[in-house]
């Protein structure tokens, strides 16, 4: 909203600079966003026009409707500077003519939605251009001049905060005004030339038969003031804010008038504004008032009485303010003191202050006018207490921490994604990931569905980077995905996922590292390392069923289980999927739902005594059938529970030269140890050799020379 320095001066004596005024308003809660200087001469109704004027662009918070006018800002300044506020223009200037014979029937059918409706008829109006001063006034605050009648109603709205509407009286059928709810489906063509279909929740101003305006929102075209208009009916009213807001929203028709009505105009100022407008219409447009101020009354808000305890104010603000200091501030703001005893004051705020409904609102006013800069900064004397931890936050931060330290870059993608991704990733009809949650009002189609897994967007990140010729990428994301819940909860299940993609080089570019690309075992190892932080037991990898993760390469992916529940997948992304994103290189990925780890109780490790006797190891390389999995052999050996065999691990896998085509060599290290004594070589040999024999015959294997 804009106000001019000269306009404010019509209400209060101002002798401060524009910078000081701007600073004061800002520091009292009405932020001045911009000041512009008007250099040319502005001719005003006041005697001495200033050579220079300033326009302040204000940002008024939605609770301060009373400040949406020159008068409101002037009143605020009067309270800030403790100067008298006087609106000299009204009672002095306006004199009601003697004989006003015309009466117009005005009735309110819904007295909850319309608190007061004042109508007044002015005859012999000459529609034409506004005087120069009025045009300038409007121009300065960014409002286009239309004609003298419309300009006067706008002038009153901006200067006094009361929206008005002028009807062409002769176009009102039956010369009657009825404030009523619209009939379901009733139509009206509004001033902007558009036809609007109304419903029964909306309040309209109607003549005998039809709506001639949508109350508080916009007038109708049928009764519009035109150059032929001779007689006007001027409307000043108070409508229930919630009702206006609903209507303006439903019709998508915000206006300067509805903006004010939906925040609440001053119920005590309706009549004054109306009188002021009539005076101007008579002075400027040559009109003559021919009716009285015909008033229909509905339920107008009434003044409240609210208890105020100065002690509470001191407690909340944290400053030693004196009672009379605080009461004086409230009085400056137009708040009446009804009565008081030692600890309590009974106060009554003016009706224009819709924001003052309870004690805390007085406290805010006091702190604001005292000035936040005058409240000393101190520190609370907080008792020491231990609060519960947030397990999900810990889960998320440790996941990020591990992955970052593995040399990966964290990406953050929007939680909403392109519906095309689900199709591109060939997610099947029975997969829960296909059941996305859609936004009712997305920014765009590309950002219209909540993601159900992380992989598609992180693949899009690869696509973006490859376009800039960045091909060695190691990215991770940790974030929420949103799964429609089968149960009755209105909210979806929010899982926390961690996803990693690797593509390009295995090692950093360097003179010393081999020039190799990442492969399956890089992603698997990374997943193993990562998962080990969350649980040392219960993790299993199983060969993936391709119908589960259709976007992963059939023979190169594993499903990840935790305590027999699937929590993710790892492996190589199918080139067919990557083609959709113009990616021609291999991409390895894993994605894991971390939620199952959130209830892992903090378990502390127990110390194990160190072995007292040395370990003896034997390395043996077997030549086996190529398709035999290493896991099968290891499990076979371990399940034999050989005495003294402490553990086994694979130290070598080899195919190629000297090995038959469909065979492979698997080197296994066997570690033997006893808790009671040092084993001798010969007894280890005896145990080991018989074990080897069993393995050879079980798997039809040979020893490698």
């Amino acid at each position: 909203m804009k106000v001019s320095y000269s306009g404010l001066k019509e209400f209060i004596p101002l002798n401060i600079s524009e910078t000081e005024l701007s600073y004061s308003l800002t520091m009292k809660g009405i932020e001045v966003e911009d000041i512009s200087v008007i250099e040319h001469e502005v001719i005003l109704t006041v005697d001495k026009p200033p050579a220079k004027d300033y326009i302040f662009e204000l940002s008024v918070t939605p609770n301060r409707m009373d400040c949406l006018s020159f008068m409101g800002i002037a009143r605020e300044l009067a309270a800030i500077y403790d100067i008298s506020f006087h609106n000299k223009k009204i009672e002095i200037d306006y004199k009601e003519p003697y004989k006003l014979n015309l009466t117009v029937p005005i009735s309110i059918q819904n007295s909850d939605l319309c608190g007061i409706y004042v109508g007044v008829v002015i005859d012999k109006v000459k529609i034409g251009q506004s005087p120069e001063w009025l045009k300038k006034f409007l121009e300065n605050i960014g409002v286009r001049s239309i004609n003298n009648v419309v300009d006067i109603t706008n002038y009153i709205m901006f200067q006094w905060g009361q929206p008005l509407h002028a009807f062409d009286f002769d176009k009102l059928e039956g010369h009657e005004i009825i404030v009523r709810n619209a009939r379901e489906g009733e139509k009206i063509k509004t001033l902007d030339g558009k036809e609007r279909i109304l419903d029964s929740s909306m309040l309209v101003i109607a003549d005998k038969y039809n709506p001639v305006g949508i109350a508080g929102v916009m007038g109708g075209e049928s009764s519009e003031v035109t150059t032929d208009t001779k007689t006007i009916l001027l409307e000043a009213a108070w409508f229930l804010p919630q009702s206006i807001r609903k209507t303006a929203k439903k019709l998508k028709l915000p206006s300067e008038a509805s903006h004010r009505f939906e925040r609440g105009v001053d119920p005590e100022g309706v009549m004054d504004a109306c009188k002021r407008a009539v005076k101007l219409l008579c002075d400027i447009c040559g009109g003559a008032q021919t009716s009285q101020f015909i008033t229909a009354n509905g339920n107008l808000p009434k003044r409240k009485r609210i208890i105020f305890k100065p002690e509470k104010a001191r407690k909340i603000i944290g400053a030693k303010l004196k009672d009379n200091e605080m009461i004086n501030i409230l009085r400056r703001l137009g708040i009446d003191i009804i009565s008081h005893d030692i600890d309590n004051f009974i106060l009554s705020p003016p009706l224009r202050r819709f924001d003052i409904t309870e004690e805390i609102d007085f406290i805010e006013e006091i702190s604001r006018i005292v000035g936040f800069e005058n409240i000393q900064a101190t520190y609370p004397k907080t008792p020491v207490f231990i609060q519960p931890e947030e397990p999900l936050y810990k889960l998320e931060t440790s996941a990020k921490d591990i992955l970052k330290n593995l040399g990966l870059f964290q990406v953050i993608n929007y939680s909403f994604t392109n519906p095309k991704n689900i199709k591109n990733f060939a997610v099947s009809e029975s997969d829960k990931r296909i059941n996305t949650i859609s936004l009712q009002n997305p920014i765009s189609y590309e950002q219209s569905e909540m993601r159900t897994f992380l992989l598609p967007q992180i693949v899009e990140n690869i696509q973006h980077n490859i376009a800039f010729n960045k091909r060695d990428l190691r990215l991770f994301e940790v974030g929420k995905v949103f799964i429609k819940d089968d149960n009755t909860s209105p909210l979806p299940l929010e899982e926390i996922h961690a996803a990693v993609v690797l593509t390009g080089r295995k090692y950093p570019p360097s003179w010393t590292y081999p020039n190799e690309n990442v492969d399956f075992y890089d992603i698997k190892g990374m997943a193993e390392y990562f998962l080990n932080f969350f649980s040392e037991t219960g993790i299993e990898f199983m060969e993936g069923n391709n119908t589960d993760e259709p976007f992963m390469l059939a023979d190169a992916h594993l499903d990840i289980f935790y305590n027999n529940i699937k929590i993710g997948y790892l492996g190589e992304i199918s080139p067919n999927i990557l083609k959709n994103y113009d990616i021609l290189t291999k991409v390895f990925a894993f994605e894991i739902n971390l939620l199952p780890f959130s209830d892992i109780n903090k378990h502390y490790k127990r110390f194990q005594p160190l072995p007292r006797f040395p370990n003896i190891s034997r390395d043996t390389a077997f030549i086996l059938d190529f398709n035999l999995s290493s896991q099968e052999i290891l499990i076979y050996i371990l399940q034999k529970n050989i005495e003294f065999l402490n553990n086994i691990d694979i130290f070598d896998v080899y195919t190629g030269k000297n090995i038959e085509k469909d065979k492979k060599s698997l080197g296994i290290r066997f570690n033997y140890m006893s808790d009671e004594r040092t084993l001798t070589d010969s007894e280890v040999d005896e145990i080991h050799n018989s074990l080897i024999e069993e393995v050879l015959s079980k798997f039809d294997a040979k020893l490698r020379d």
Binding site: A377, P380, Q387, Q410, S415, P490
Partner: protein
């Protein structure tokens, strides 16, 4: 006898001066201190001396041995140094070492962690809540009823009529207060969503909100806390000012500005000429919010504050385009290693 010792010592010194390699040095050691060395041999002749002479000469020989030993070991050190320099280089020491990959958090995460750390050091703990939220928690319980104009302050993404993407992390405050009784001192970091996308807005961004409820907390305490936080995050001499503002869930409410670090307060593009940059919203918890969660506003008071991580990240790194945050361009991410 003593004369002889002296001569042996000076001769040894002469030889030490001349020697230029480790092998030569070892020869000197053997010829003077070895089993058949000059000083060792002379020690064996002690028996032929009178009992009065014996301790004097013995002492003198031992001193000479010690002196020589030290000189030899010093010489050895110098020779070793020069020798290694002159030999063929085995390593090019200037080649870069074998470093592993270095990763990085997204800059938003870095700043979020930093801010969380400051508040945890001040006794706050982290709370979390859903990102898809009920209208009740996002609005109603926070004193923003359905037809309130304050709803216009936030453009909301709707999933259904009463389910929204949270527009702030404040619903976490409500959920936490419903679960726990005061005292309570929490921060709620996370993603929030507003239906707004232009050069200064992304439809998703990150917030941290704080809430402290106890007996006798005041606006003065809120000022103390936030000034301390801002001076820790920016710098000890950062200027801070509080301006009255409006949020439905706090009263009194404040917007908090810091003195512009780009221009030092004289006005520039970053601060739109005002010398101040808005960084925080804050206030005393509205009694209606307390009533909504079953706290007695007569017994408890509290303060709350909220800030946007993207803004703090921009100010810290001088990032001038917020769209970079969610493009995930590696050339951007690599800058924050």
């Amino acid at each position: 006898m003593l004369e002889k010792i002296k001569n042996i010592l000076s001769q040894a010194n002469e030889e030490l001066e001349k020697v230029s390699d480790l092998a030569g040095l070892d020869n000197i050691r053997v010829s003077y201190l070895g089993k058949k060395g000059h000083l060792t041999l002379i020690l064996r002749t002690l028996g032929s001396l009178s009992p009065e002479e014996r301790p004097v000469v013995g002492d003198s020989i031992n001193k000479a041995k010690a002196e020589l030993e030290e000189k030899i070991s010093l010489k050895k050190e110098t020779l070793e140094k020069t020798t290694s320099k002159s030999s063929t280089k085995l390593l090019d020491l200037t080649l870069p070492g074998r470093t592993p990959f270095k990763g990085a958090y997204h800059p938003i995460t870095q700043i979020l962690n930093e801010i969380c750390d400051i508040f945890t050091s001040l006794g706050f703990t982290v709370s979390q809540g859903p990102e898809i939220e009920l209208d009740f928690y996002n609005f109603e319980a926070l004193n923003i009823p359905a037809e309130h104009p304050a709803r216009d302050m936030q453009d909301t993404f709707y999933v259904s009529d009463n389910v929204v993407l949270r527009t702030h992390t404040s619903p976490i405050q409500i959920r936490t207060m419903q679960k726990r009784k005061p005292p309570l001192k929490i921060i709620a970091p996370g993603k929030v969503y507003r239906c707004d996308s232009d050069i200064t807005h992304t439809p998703m961004f990150h917030q941290i909100e704080g809430l402290h409820v106890d007996k006798d907390l005041s606006f003065s305490h809120l000022k103390g806390l936030l000034i301390q936080f801002l001076q820790k995050f920016f710098s000890a001499d950062t200027k801070v000012r509080f301006r009255p503002s409006f949020f439905p869930f706090t009263e009194p409410s404040a917007e908090v500005d810091i003195g512009c670090m780009m221009c030092g307060g004289s006005g520039c593009r970053v601060c739109k000429g005002t010398g101040w940059i808005e960084v925080l919203g804050a206030g005393m918890v509205h009694p209606q919010v307390f009533r909504n969660v079953g706290y007695d506003p007569a017994e408890f008071t509290g303060y709350a504050f909220g800030l946007g991580i993207e803004r703090f990240t921009m100010l810290r790194y001088g990032i001038n385009d917020i769209r970079l945050y969610y493009e995930n361009d590696i050339r951007f991410l690599e800058q924050f290693k």
